[in-house]
């Protein structure tokens, strides 16, 4: 091996390292751009009234999106009630119980469903819930978002459960522990962080969904008191305000987008803190 050869290899190594670093920066750059642009455009309109007041009628300046903020909370809570248990348990079935042919079909279906545009889901739920119940409702909005969450959570749950080394399952089964307890106490506990990440990604995805809500939750300028009434949601409100001709509404739309991003980040941080395992700092 010659000395010059060695130098050339070193140079290539430095170049490739720099290249991967630049690519990594390119990944986070759009996120930073979005965030700073939102801050610049929206921060000025985020004030106390924005969080506490209802939207003002057309032509009046001021008001807030209190109902839409609460509405988004309610909708994603409802959606999680449907999407998280069904998605996680479905993922457990795919990963922990072997039915080769059935599992293949479930996986295949879930992947196709993941690719279905969300507006299609809006129409389906419109036909199945809104029409029979004769009205747009909180319920329909929660169900449509929940349905979108299910295949997302199911596939990520399955994938992280597959990452749990088989040795843990065998060790637990060899202790004479029943399989369902092994799954709940050993496998799910070991994979908890990954499952939470999957749930958070799904949550972030549906929190920003607008199209399916147009057919289901519909939006509301006032507070919602019953599950059978239409409800406001941040993405709907942003959409309505953004396409309006009023400058004040445009400003509020920017503020709404900023609040939505902060809301998702906030939920993310809270849930991660609550589900952090005791030893993660050391590991």
């Amino acid at each position: 091996m010659t000395v010059s050869n060695h130098h050339w290899r070193k140079a290539r190594n430095v170049f490739m390292q720099a290249f991967t670093f630049v690519c990594a920066i390119l990944v986070i750059l759009p996120l930073l751009l979005v965030f700073f642009y939102l801050l610049k455009q929206g921060a000025g309109s985020v004030n106390w009234a924005f969080f506490t007041e209802l939207p003002k009628p057309v032509g009046e300046v001021g008001g807030g999106m209190a109902n839409a903020i609460l509405g988004t909370f309610i909708l994603i809570s409802l959606a999680s009630c449907l999407g998280v248990p069904v998605g996680v348990l479905g993922g457990v079935f795919l990963s922990e119980y072997s039915h080769r042919r059935l599992n293949w079909w479930i996986r295949f279906t879930a992947d196709i469903i993941n690719g279905v545009p969300s507006i299609t889901w809006g129409m389906v739920v419109y036909a199945l819930i809104v029409l029979p119940m004769k009205g747009f409702s909180v319920l329909a909005g929660g169900v449509v978002l929940g349905l979108i969450m299910i295949p997302l959570i199911m596939r990520t749950t399955e994938e992280v459960l597959q990452l749990v080394p088989n040795g843990y399952r065998e060790a637990a089964l060899a202790l004479g522990i029943a399989q369902w307890r092994v799954i709940v106490q050993i496998v799910l506990r070991t994979a908890l962080k990954g499952i939470v990440t999957g749930v958070m990604l799904a949550l972030a995805r549906v929190a920003g969904e607008t199209a399916p809500l147009l057919f289901t939750a519909f939006g509301n300028a006032y507070w919602t008191h019953r599950l059978t009434e239409p409800i406001a949601a941040l993405p709907l409100q942003i959409f309505n305000y953004a396409i309006s001709p009023y400058d004040d509404w445009h400003r509020q739309a920017w503020a709404g987008a900023l609040v939505l991003i902060l809301l998702i980040s906030g939920i993310n941080i809270c849930v991660r803190t609550l589900t952090r395992d005791r030893f993660s700092k050391r590991a």
Partner: protein, 272 residues
């Protein structure tokens, strides 16, 4: 007890080994198939109580499958099928009304790769088998933690940090923790699948000392690739080759005066 370690005459498969005086596990005509592939062929063997039985043989000879059939762990493979009979102190463990879970509470297992649960502390790892089977009494759990860790010769090293994460232990300590975890549910038989093959010589020696200590109370079956380990720590040795039990007898005889040519070739290192 002394009768157990006396040489048994004619202890080859061809002439059927004489049953040891107290057999913990009696295996009759055991064959195991994965799909159409026969991994074990018509194995008959008596495993003596409160003794160490080593299973040796080249890779793929079926020794791990044999070990796993004693606590029905091989059934985790959905294609597995068995013929024959295995009795644990007289009880047919493959009887229709016996749940694998019950068998596994009586027959513990230690694996090649130490696998303490990463989400649990040292103490929680020891008591996990008891807790997940319904034991709640804190005093009982604490007492069993100490007892099991002492039996696994780990107590003195961890007694001041029982609540530290189990994965903070060294490799050898983790393996002894796994032994303590298996002992805590008070099994009758302890199966060990190459328990020291991933450990350094010092940690290996500790495990071997422990095995000899444990046979006072337990029946131990150990699969090993290490011929010296089998010679050092076992009372009986069974040599498996291509799914068949070639020869079974007292360890000293298997290693000094094997009846079968194939056994002699293997223990002298001519193949495998």
């Amino acid at each position: 007890m002394t009768a157990l370690i006396q040489p048994m005459p004619n202890a080859t498969v061809e002439t059927k080994p004489d049953p040891a005086p107290v057999a913990a596990v009696t295996v009759r005509g055991l064959s195991i198939f994965f799909g159409n592939h026969a991994v074990l062929k018509n194995v008959t063997i008596d495993i003596g109580a409160r003794a160490v039985t080593a299973i040796i043989g080249p890779s793929g000879c079926g020794k791990s499958t044999f070990l796993r059939s004693i606590n029905r762990m091989h059934e985790l493979n959905p294609d597995a099928r068995m013929e024959g009979e295995i009795r644990l102190f007289g009880d047919d463990i493959y009887s229709r009304d016996v749940e694998p879970v019950v068998v596994r509470r009586r027959v513990g297992m230690v694996f090649q790769k130490s696998n303490p649960f990463p989400t649990m502390s040292i103490a929680e790892n020891v008591t996990v088998g008891l807790r997940l089977n319904g034991e709640r009494n804190k005093k009982t759990l604490a007492a069993r933690t100490e007892e099991s860790l002492r039996m696994a010769a780990l107590w003195d090293e961890v007694k001041d940090r029982l609540h530290a994460p189990a994965i903070s232990l060294s490799g050898g300590q983790q393996q002894r923790l796994c032994i303590a975890r298996a002992l805590a549910v008070q099994p009758e038989v302890l199966l060990m699948d190459e328990p020291a093959s991933a450990l350094d010589p010092l940690a290996t020696q500790k495990i071997e000392d422990l095995i000899i200590e444990l046979k006072k109370d337990y029946t131990i079956v150990i699969v090993t690739h290490n011929m010296q380990q089998a010679a050092r720590s076992s009372d009986f040795t069974a040599f498996f080759y291509l799914g068949e039990l070639v020869e079974f007898g007292p360890t000293t005889r298997i290693f000094t005066n094997p009846a079968q040519k194939r056994t002699e070739d293997y223990v002298t290192g001519r193949f495998g």
